[in-house]
Symmetry: C2
């Protein structure tokens, strides 16, 4: 049975976390969620998502128990505040490199801006986006996508793609479609690309369990006719 | 600000719960989750979803604090075991009738069968499906939809529709598209229609907050091109 370690933190986008975890469990993947937490430990642990849903993780993030010898895949969900905590954690950055070096899967969903968060003029913007764990982890130049709002930060360091889900060997990144003009006053500039969470999760299932399993999990969810994944 | 009471129980489908709650919060709806629980209270409360994700509800379900004088909408998510607990609760059944009588919204997502659950031959099947809270609550004949697996139980009592999301005055029901042959040996017969959770949530936003708010919330989620909602 394949296994996956799914990181979570205060501020993680709860739909991105839940859709990925739930869909992988449906495919028979043994999932463990690990709480990346900078403050004092509380008992029991509970991560407060970007929209206020509190989720009890399966355990705290412990680097020694999280390596590519323990799991087949590592998932970093979005949600600006959660992505900041996760992507700035040096143990997570090392883990991303270790998983890729060992040929294990790494999945990242891009994250945008929380309500009211203004990014123009911030020099630490890159570190605040989940998709940019690829950047903070110092990965080599390769195909990648992200939330459209951070194209500028990524296009020199990576081979930037505008597909919804991009697979580069064992690195899987996700975004929304098309290139959009970013106006910080529009809702778009301060929100999340959760709309790609389902196709992202199905791509993870396909790569971990094969295309037949993907089809087996997809059918019963009864997506409306014409859904493009 | 509109408000919504979203029920949750052990076995609730965590994607259906999370997508609805999260999307309503994005629209500015004041959401409260209430734990419908038959056993002894535990502190803090945590509902274990159908795929093992543990969610801390905002509080226990208290009928006296849950009426249509307190909230603008009542939501019953799916997930077979959770739907059974919720739809068999007589206080919830009364609440469904009270909300509709007061002209408040009631939203139900259909639920299917958990893995390994065989429904053929069971006489209590109807009570085991979330969408069928409409039946257990004794609602009058009106347009409605459900998971395709329970058409037979509903089509005499309601005006059955095959649309993904059906609005009948202030009752909103959801399912997957099309009519399918139910074979209990296929994954379809034992699974959930979580694929309609997003269009269901957007319909709730539209009815609670208006079509402009729906558009405002939808755009930033960056669904892939061609997504039919």
């Amino acid at each position: 049975m394949p296994s996956a370690l799914i990181l979570i933190a205060d501020g993680t986008e709860e739909m991105e976390f839940t859709i990925t975890y739930d869909t992988l469990v449906r495919a028979g993947v043994d999932c463990k969620s690990a709480f990346v937490h900078n403050d004092e430990f509380v008992t029991p642990p509970a991560a407060k998502g970007s929209r206020g849903i509190k989720i009890v993780p399966d355990g705290y993030f412990e680097p020694a128990d999280s390596g590519p010898d323990k799991f087949d895949a590592l998932v970093v969900p979005g949600g600006a505040k959660g992505a900041e905590t996760i992507s700035q954690n040096s143990a997570v950055q090392k883990l991303v490199r270790d998983y890729l070096a060992e040929g294990k899967l790494v999945g990242m969903i891009c994250a945008g801006m929380p309500d009211g968060y203004t990014y123009l003029g911030r020099t630490d913007f890159a570190a605040r986006l989940g998709s940019l764990a690829a950047l903070t982890s110092g990965l080599p130049k390769q195909p990648l996508t992200s939330h459209p709002s951070v194209i500028a930060q990524l296009q020199d360091e990576f081979i930037y793609s505008e597909d919804s889900v991009v697979v580069s060997n064992n690195l899987i990144t996700s975004r929304g479609p098309g290139k959009r003009t970013i106006d910080p006053n529009t809702p778009f500039a301060k929100a999340l690309a959760s709309g790609t969470a389902f196709p992202f999760a199905f791509k993870m299932v396909e790569l971990l369990c094969g295309p037949e399993k993907r089809q087996e999990v997809h059918g019963p969810m009864v997506f409306p006719a014409g859904t493009p994944w």
